[in-house]
């Protein structure tokens, strides 16, 4: 039997920092973020990607009965929609209204909270679930952590939070030759009572899920589209929808999971690469060949639990960089200093009850800030550079450290 396709798109924009100066620290200027630049980038990406891609997706889901898709919108993206792009928000709402589009839960601030602070993690996921319900009229049942950060604990915590599915990177080292197109489950174990208690107290969904399925990203096929599509030195270039469908079918298993940044369409791969035409052709070919594109929830609904392999991940993995671990955000001195300093303020910040202060602190938790500070200088360095709005990792840290210093001064005031 042919595998089904599961298309999932990450949609996210961080709040980038403005060119803060040491002379402003402690002067009571609360705004750390570059609203002009954030607005400008949001509109640029909206015009190049979100609006045309959403229009195309709407057309496709309406036209092809077996074509479903899935998104996760970070909370800070949804905030920016309200600020800079009601038209973008509306186009996502139209997609939601078709009933053929699933929205996943994630951390509201696209943060690394899952590996630093369980309490903050739960609060952010809860805030994200509530906002998704409010904006799109549906309650997420499947979870994706920031940048597919994943380990056994994260999976169990997601189950305790109430999710019956979680998505993760299909890392070769953990697949051990198995096909990422199959469904997996994490090993079963009890979390320490203390942790369970925290999750119970901050559970985003009503009750814990009995079981949780893991959908793994098929990184080879996903990256063919996300990274290699316009690479003229790639043997697969130029990739057409027919060939790609052949590859999908040859990949075997039950469902081929194509997970990628939504900005792939029109922003990472520009329109003139033919990426939209490629996308437009896929469902037509799939319908012709009787291939379904389904949402994660549909995959999980058909889950034959007795035949499930275990995906056993002790160390933390992600979908970032070649290492597919946490080294895109942690590991050098400035990243570690920034990360530990910001989380060290958690209880103090929350203790103030000051909404503006808490919001500013949380926007500083967004993983992108640490990503921009990355100094790995081989080929992945280029990727970090491409995404960074600043001219160097040190500039990223300079701005961040001023924001931190100002936050501290507000706390001690």
């Amino acid at each position: 039997m042919n595998p089904r396709i599961c298309f999932y798109f990450q949609v996210h924009q961080p709040y980038r920092l403005r060119d803060l100066r040491i002379t402003e620290v402690g002067q009571g200027k609360a705004d750390y973020f570059d609203s002009e630049k954030n607005h400008q980038i949001f509109r640029k990406v909206a015009e190049k990607c979100y609006l045309p891609a959403n229009a195309l997706m709407l057309e496709l889901v309406e036209k092809y009965p077996d074509f479903h898709i899935c998104y996760s919108l970070s909370g800070v993206f949804m905030d920016q929609c309200k600020e800079y792009g009601p038209d973008v928000l509306e186009s996502f709402q139209k997609l939601a209204a078709t009933g053929k589009v699933e929205f996943l839960a994630e951390t509201y601030y696209h943060s690394l909270a899952s590996v630093v602070s369980l309490e903050e993690y739960c609060e952010q996921v809860t805030k994200h679930v509530r906002t998704t319900e409010e904006l799109f009229g549906m309650t997420p049942k499947v979870f994706r952590n920031t940048e597919l950060i994943y380990n056994n604990e994260i999976a169990q915590i997601a189950r305790l939070m109430g999710f019956n599915g979680i998505i993760a990177e299909g890392a070769d080292s953990h697949l051990e030759g198995r096909n990422p197109n199959d469904l997996f489950r994490p090993p079963t174990f009890r979390l320490p009572a203390e942790q369970e208690k925290i999750v119970r107290a901050n559970r985003p969904l009503q009750k814990r899920a009995r079981d949780i399925a893991v959908l793994l990203k098929n990184y080879k096929l996903s990256d063919d589209v996300a990274f290699r599509f316009s690479d003229k030195s790639w043997v697969g270039y130029p990739l057409d929808a027919g060939t790609f469908t052949d590859w999908l079918m040859q990949s075997g298993g039950k469902n081929a999971n194509l997970f990628m940044d939504y900005e792939t369409f029109g922003e990472h791969q520009w329109e003139d690469t033919g990426i939209f035409d490629f996308l437009r052709e896929l469902p037509a070919i799939w319908q012709e060949r009787g291939i379904q594109a389904v949402t994660p929830s549909q995959v999980i609904a058909d889950w034959k639990k007795e035949h499930t392999h275990e995906y056993d991940v002790h160390e933390t993995i992600s979908w970032a960089d070649m290492e597919r671990d946490l080294s895109a955000w942690t590991g050098n001195h400035i990243q570690d200093a920034a990360l530990s300093s910001i989380y060290a303020l958690e209880s103090q910040v929350k203790g103030t009850g000051n909404k503006g202060l808490i919001e500013a602190w949380r926007r500083l938790l967004t993983s992108d800030h640490f990503y921009y500070m990355c100094t790995k200088y081989w080929s992945d360095g280029d990727v970090h550079k491409y995404f960074s709005p600043y001219d160097s990792p040190y500039e990223a840290y300079r701005r961040y450290s001023h924001a931190l210093a100002d936050l501290r001064s507000r706390l001690s005031a």
Binding site: T23, H333, I334, T375, Y394, E395, R398, A405
Partner: protein, 402 residues
């Protein structure tokens, strides 16, 4: 047959004023160690002065000395001052003005190498370009014009027309130009109208070694009451001496405990002293004058941050020297060194407020300072002269085989 480069040099350690001599020496040594035969022609201040350069493969480098009064960074004015020190009867020999001296140098150096059989002629900066051009023509081999610093760099875009024309002649006569940075390449395409494909970039190498882990650790735990910020370079417009002081006065307002050292001499000295007094820096700044290499090393090692605010800096070897002493660096964006140093701050030379902010951030944030100290030296391992010389060698190979 092994490759033979006939090289027309300008200055050479220990007789040197700027980066060119150091770069030239590094390149020659690198080429030699890669098996390229080098004949180096050097001008000397007088026939009795011996440069006394020795290195292991001395016998392979044939140094041919040419009598000349030429010194790098010569201007017509300083040349006249120089030549007046020479006994009258000798003066005729060197010619009355710089132009004539160069033509004498050119004449002699071409003549004394005309019986060689080089595979390529390689000349360094404008004073040697005419010699290079004629020699390449005589031997009928490709000409490589190396550009270490342009007249526009030195004069803040107000060039001496004669020198500018000399440079232009060299660039046009060359089969290939080697620029020490992308910054310089852009200068040549933008202000000399040279086609970009004619220019290869070979960054300077460095003989400086990374700092020891002990030094890095020592600097990490050292807590200073009075942090020190260092400038090292000639006190001239090109080096951004005024920008350094502007930055210093901004820092002084916020953090009066910070000290500044300006090492180097130059015609702006008085102006700079005056500026620092007017901005209340008199107790926070030391003008160290021209420093020898031992003093320079100590200053680099003591500094908490090294700032190179140059207005136009083709490369900037001082940046690498500072890095090799475990000192965080802030480089002007108008410099070539910034192209090879990843772990630093880069700021436009005119943005002294941002420069000040970077310094204060480094002083406040120990993890940042530590990372800059320990990561930046990775550049030194990449930029060996042996490696950079092999890039030059492949330029030669391309020229000889096409």
């Amino acid at each position: 047959m092994s490759m033979h480069s006939l090289m027309f040099g300008w200055e050479y350690p220990p007789l040197h004023l700027g980066g060119l001599g150091v770069a030239c020496q590094g390149l020659v040594r690198g080429l030699l160690s890669n098996g390229v035969k080098v004949t180096l022609v050097l001008p000397h201040e007088s026939e009795t002065t011996d440069t006394d350069v020795r290195f292991p493969s001395d016998e392979i480098v044939q140094k041919l000395r040419v009598c000349s009064m030429l010194q790098p960074y010569n201007t017509f004015e300083s040349f006249e001052a120089n030549i007046r020190k020479v006994p009258k009867n000798k003066k005729d020999m060197y010619g009355n003005d710089l132009g004539e001296a160069i033509s004498n140098y050119t004449e002699m150096s071409v003549k004394m190498t005309e019986d060689l059989n080089p595979s390529v002629v390689h000349c360094h900066d404008w004073m040697t370009y005419e010699a290079g051009r004629r020699s390449a023509e005589h031997h009928n081999v490709p000409l490589v014009a190396h550009i270490h610093a342009t007249e526009l760099d030195r004069t803040n875009y107000a060039p001496n027309e004669y020198i500018y024309q000399r440079e232009l002649m060299g660039f046009e006569a060359a089969t290939k130009i080697i620029a020490v940075s992308n910054f310089t390449k852009n200068m040549l395409t933008k202000h000399y109208g040279i086609a970009p494909e004619k220019i290869a970039i070979v960054h300077n190498g460095s003989i400086d070694r990374p700092p020891s882990p002990e030094l890095i650790e020592h600097k990490r735990i050292l807590k200073k009451q009075h942090p020190m910020i260092l400038f090292l370079g000639r006190l001239v417009t090109q080096k951004g001496a005024v920008q350094f002081l502007e930055m210093a006065s901004l820092i002084h307002k916020e953090q009066p405990e910070v000290n500044f050292v300006m090492a180097g001499d130059g015609h702006m000295f008085e102006e700079l002293v005056d500026f620092s007094c007017r901005h209340g820096l008199q107790d926070s700044i030391i003008f160290a004058g021209k420093v020898g290499s031992m003093e320079a090393k100590q200053l680099y090692a003591q500094a908490d941050c090294f700032v190179m605010p140059s207005i136009s800096e083709p490369f900037g070897l001082v940046a690498l020297e500072a890095i090799s002493h475990g000192t965080p660096v802030i480089l002007s964006r108008q410099s070539g060194a910034g192209e090879v140093v990843d772990d630093c701050f880069q700021v436009d030379f005119w943005d002294t407020a941002k420069m000040a902010d970077c310094v204060m951030t480094i002083l406040r944030e120990e993890p940042l300072a530590h990372q800059l100290r320990s990561y930046a030296p990775r550049t030194l391992n990449k930029l060996t002269w042996q490696r950079q010389a092999s890039h030059v060698q492949s330029v030669y190979t391309d020229l000889i085989h096409c």
